[in-house]
């Protein structure tokens, strides 16, 4: 049942769809003018939206379809009564806590925090008015390694935000940091330096392993201080695939002539052989072994088939099938594009050398290289 429609403007939505298929029901997938549209169940739309945003896909439009679209026009008494009852139940439910959210804890387990809540008789469906937020906050701050805790009630959720005590990374790992290096070959398009000293600038061409950010900063007095290098650097990465198509090619082709021999053996001892002579000048052999299925005894039958082949010159009309070869090269290039890579541009070049046509297909990706 289709209910919710997504439209995404992007070139490489295929990889995204492959990922979505594993978790969600999506259907009626179309792609026109680089806009991919698909339907999903409305209950899954938020999760899908979250994934799309996570991987940097912009959503052109999203709309309700099917039953959901018509629900707002229904004026049946039963539905109105249902809505009123739901509203009353909703108002009653606002007096209670329905969810406890714990955020910010890395080393402290949620169980430890829940233990403190249990001591205060706070569970799901506890009355909001019975919760003393200030006292609870103080109690939580007494947990070992908690430097600060905040407790708020938002809607039906009790949100506990924990800030843990941190050890200073710069002091603990003094002088042991490694420089940030490039993971790909490409041309830098943006640099967002968080910590460290940049070794490159926008427009530089970098190779795999080149240093991007040095693990130190210069102080005002000229001394250097070791820091963990951190930066978000994006660059244009080129994926190139080459396809060679020869105008003439000599291929090995099997004729329909076959000479078959078989032998029967019992417990490794051969007791029957057909010995037809192979009269072909060029042939290849295929062997197969199996047990006789209609016999109780373990009698093994071994087939040896000799296939005659000839060499034939095959001419290729490159100009007529050019589009097909270009598409084939494109498919080969797309196989090297990783999940959620954003394709910036696609182009191809055709060269001719003697009797060989060479198609070079280039896909430009915009990638985070740190």
């Amino acid at each position: 049942m289709k209910q919710y429609k997504f439209e995404i403007p992007a070139l490489n939505t295929e990889k995204l769809l492959n990922k979505l298929v594993l978790e969600f029901d999506i259907f009626d997938i179309k792609k026109q003018d680089n806009i991919c549209s698909f339907f999903c169940k409305s209950k899954q739309k938020k999760q899908i939206e979250k994934i799309l945003k996570k991987y940097g896909f912009s959503i052109k439009s999203k709309s309700y379809f099917g039953l959901a679209k018509h629900l707002k026009n229904i004026s049946s008494l039963g539905i109105i009564t249902g809505i009123i009852i739901s509203v009353v139940l909703y108002i009653i439910s606002t007096f209670f806590i329905s969810n406890v959210l714990i955020v910010g804890n890395l080393t402290i387990t949620s169980k430890e925090i829940m233990q403190v809540l249990e001591n205060y008789n706070i569970n799901k469906w506890s009355l909001k008015s019975s919760i003393d937020v200030k006292n609870l906050q103080q109690e939580l701050e007494e947990i070992k390694y908690v430097s600060y805790a905040s407790v708020i009630i938002k809607g039906n959720a009790l949100i506990i935000n924990i800030k843990e005590q941190l050890t200073n990374n710069e002091i603990v790992n003094m002088g042991t940091f490694q420089p940030l290096v490039s993971k790909y070959d490409g041309k830098i398009t943006s640099i967002k330096l968080i910590q460290g000293t940049s070794a490159v600038k926008v427009g530089d061409i970098v190779k795999l392993g080149d240093v991007l950010i040095y693990p130190y900063i210069l102080n005002d007095d000229g001394t250097t201080l070791s820091v963990q290098p951190l930066a978000n650097i994006t660059c244009d990465v080129w994926i190139t695939t080459r396809l060679e198509v020869k105008d003439k090619e000599i291929k090995k082709i099997r004729t329909n002539n076959v000479i078959s021999n078989y032998s029967l053996s019992f417990m490794g001892i051969n007791f029957f052989n057909t010995n037809q002579k192979v009269t072909f000048s060029n042939y290849e052999t295929e062997k197969k072994e199996c047990y006789l299925s209609y016999c109780i005894l373990p009698i093994k039958i071994k087939y040896t088939n000799c296939y005659e082949y000839i060499f034939k010159e095959i001419k290729t009309n490159f100009e007529e099938n050019k589009d097909k070869y270009i598409e084939k090269t494109r498919q080969m290039s797309l196989l090297n594009v990783k999940e959620y890579d954003i394709i910036k541009d696609e182009s191809y070049v055709i060269n001719k050398q003697d009797d060989t046509n060479i198609i070079i297909y280039t896909i430009t990706l915009n990638k985070l290289i740190t």
């Binding site: 492959n18 298929v21 498919q331 196989l335």
Partner: protein
């Protein structure tokens, strides 16, 4: 439950290894059912390519769209002209 491909294997005495890759059913050049795909490579209204074991399957036609997709099966509808395997 009835399994079309298993019935085919048993009726004609074929090897079971025949169905360990991918299977295609083309219904009147209007619907293609693919079993055993390994993900979509590209989509457009004229061309849909899917990855299969040891290659790519290319469906060429007009007004093509993926009607239904799961992690192993796929249903494509539209005016199908060609099915190619690279």
């Amino acid at each position: 439950m009835f399994n079309f491909f298993n019935e085919l294997i048993s009726d004609y005495g074929l090897e079971t290894s025949l169905i360990n890759s991918f299977n295609i059913i083309n219904m009147s050049n209007k619907l293609v059912y693919i079993e055993g795909h390994k993900g979509v490579v590209s989509i457009s209204s004229e061309n849909i390519s899917v990855r299969v074991k040891k290659g790519v399957l290319c469906i060429v036609g007009k007004n093509l769209q993926i009607k239904r997709i799961s992690h192993t099966t796929l249903v494509i509808i539209g005016q199908i002209k060609e099915i190619e395997s690279y």
